[in-house]
Amino acid sequence: MKIGFIGLGIMGRPMALNLIKGGHAVTVWARRAESMQPLLDAGAKGVASPADAARGNELVISMVADAPDVAEVMRGVASAGQSGLVAVDMSTIAPAAARKIGEDLAAAGVDFIDAPVSGGEVGAIAGTLSIMAGGSEAAFAKAKPAFECMGKNIVHVGASGAGQVTKAANQIVTGMGVLAVAEAFAFAAKNGVDRSKVREALLGGFAYSKILENHGQRMLDRNFKPGFKSWMHEKDLNIVMQTAHELGLCLPGSAATAQMFNAMVGSGMGEEDSIAVLKLLERLSGQE
């Protein structure tokens, strides 16, 4: 398939490389020209604008930072006038923003899918991302071969926006999950109990989770290198809280968690992994 790819950061670069490995003809555009070089070396064609990344292609994919960036590149995509095009955004943005972008593209005759991912840089490199998609059945079917090069667990969740709703739900579970493990460890330590033994015991029971296993181990190792930066988790939880505000939805646990991540960003820990919330708890309880 002929695919345009927009946004070649930590996630976008390996995802585009996996499309090339999968035998697709990939055209790339990135705001910073130098970030295109690794893709050109791998056989991609570089172009000068988002519109050029859409022109002549069946599929165009964006992986950028935030809703205004997605809206901007998709305006360019719409202006290309490429008939039969399917546009896919794999960034994490607000569901309402995704629906709006979908409507704008539909007006230009372009089908849109919101397909945010979970699995981080490791999953992007390995091609094992979880992909949660929202949009029409026909558009999803068209994009599916591309998704299969980038991810493993690929679910068509529902209509436009449903992918972003699912990603927001994912961030609720992972955000509170990280905080839950950190609090359990703070609790054990304050009681004079070995945290690594607690983790080991919990892994065999109902409290088992990937977060306890992987993030828990990194907490024990005090390895706070990202991974997933806490400012990004804060951004994602802000999407959750703003959506809850608009809908009239009571989410007390998410609200408390969002404030912990807000505190991390405010105290200069934004570039550290979100598991560094453990350090914040330790500071509050005099466990440093």
Partner: protein, 284 residues
């Protein structure tokens, strides 16, 4: 002084009337002309037209977008107000929005004060509002005689946006106090104790507050008709949390209270009084 007024709701109407009573020429513009009623004022067709005939213009509307539309939009105040004239915005909006509007108006040498108020409809009627102003001190001094017609405590907080920050702080404390009063009333009832007696006893001690007085009374009487429409507090909490986020300041209690307000909205009580937070507690 030639004064203009935009936003003749529960707050704006009595405020406009005070200005007129004090002998100031009054011009008004309203999105819905019927809201002008019997107010003795010159009625203008657009905010721009109102701006052309006024030295000082007041706005009391709902959201940041409303103030931006009236001030900067098509036929907005910016198209009519003369250099040196003053726009005083008494709405509760985002500090950022206030700074943005101030900067745009400054491009045409029009002065701007963010001057949100506290005290509710009763405070507006009694002219006892607390007014927290952001902007240049000299500009505030120029309009102070007008503000004296509206309120008792007029404090210059700092530059543009500072008034809105103060109002955000006000809302945090006030709505958290309403939630605390509601939880206390709920605990009293849950423990089989007379809420009215509890409120009466507390009013004489360290927990006494205006919120416990006014809102507690409403809770005891189970009179949830607005006073202050809860949807406005819900809106304000969106502003507060966004400001906290931008400053990287954790506000744990505010965030939880915001969720209770979300539940209140979900029940369809947004046009009732914020003392309805008691009813949210009774849901579970």
């Amino acid at each position: 002084m030639n004064t203009g007024f935009i936003g003749l709701g529960a707050m704006g109407r009595p405020m406009a009337r005070h200005l007129h009573r004090a002998g100031h020429e009054l011009a008004v513009w309203a999105r819905r002309p019927e809201s002008i009623g019997d107010l003795p004022a010159r009625v203008c067709a657009t905010p721009a037209e109102l701006g052309r005939c006024c030295e000082v213009v007041f706005t009391v509307v709902t959201s940041s977008a409303d103030v931006e539309a009236v001030a900067l939009g098509k036929d907005g105040l910016i198209e009519g107000m003369a250099p040196g004239s003053v726009l005083v915005d008494c709405s509760t909006i985002a500090p950022d929005a206030a700074r943005h509007i101030a900067a745009r108006l400054a491009g045409k040498d029009i002065h701007f004060l963010d001057a949100p108020v506290s005290g509710g409809e009763q405070g507006a009627i009694d002219a006892t509002l607390a007014i927290m102003a952001g902007g240049e001190a000299a500009v505030l001094d120029r309009v102070r005689p007008l503000l004296d017609c509206l309120g008792q405590r007029i404090v210059h907080i700092g530059p543009n946006g500072a008034g809105q920050v103060a109002k955000a702080c006000n809302q945090m404390i006030m709505v958290a106090a309403i939630e605390a009063a509601a939880e206390a009333m709920r605990l009293a009832a849950g423990a089989g104790v007379d809420c009215a007696k509890v409120r009466q006893a507390l009013a004489g001690g360290s927990a006494a507050s205006r919120v416990l007085d006014v809102m507690g009374e409403r809770m005891v009487r189970r009179d949830f008709s607005a006073g202050i429409e809860a949807r406005l507090h819900h809106k304000d909490f969106g502003l507060v949390l966004e400001a906290a986020r931008q400053s990287g300041v954790p506000v744990a209690l505010t965030a939880v209270v915001a969720q209770q307000l979300n539940a209140l909205m979900a029940q369809g009580w947004g046009r009732d009084d914020t003392s309805s937070l008691l009813r949210v507690l009774e849901l579970v």
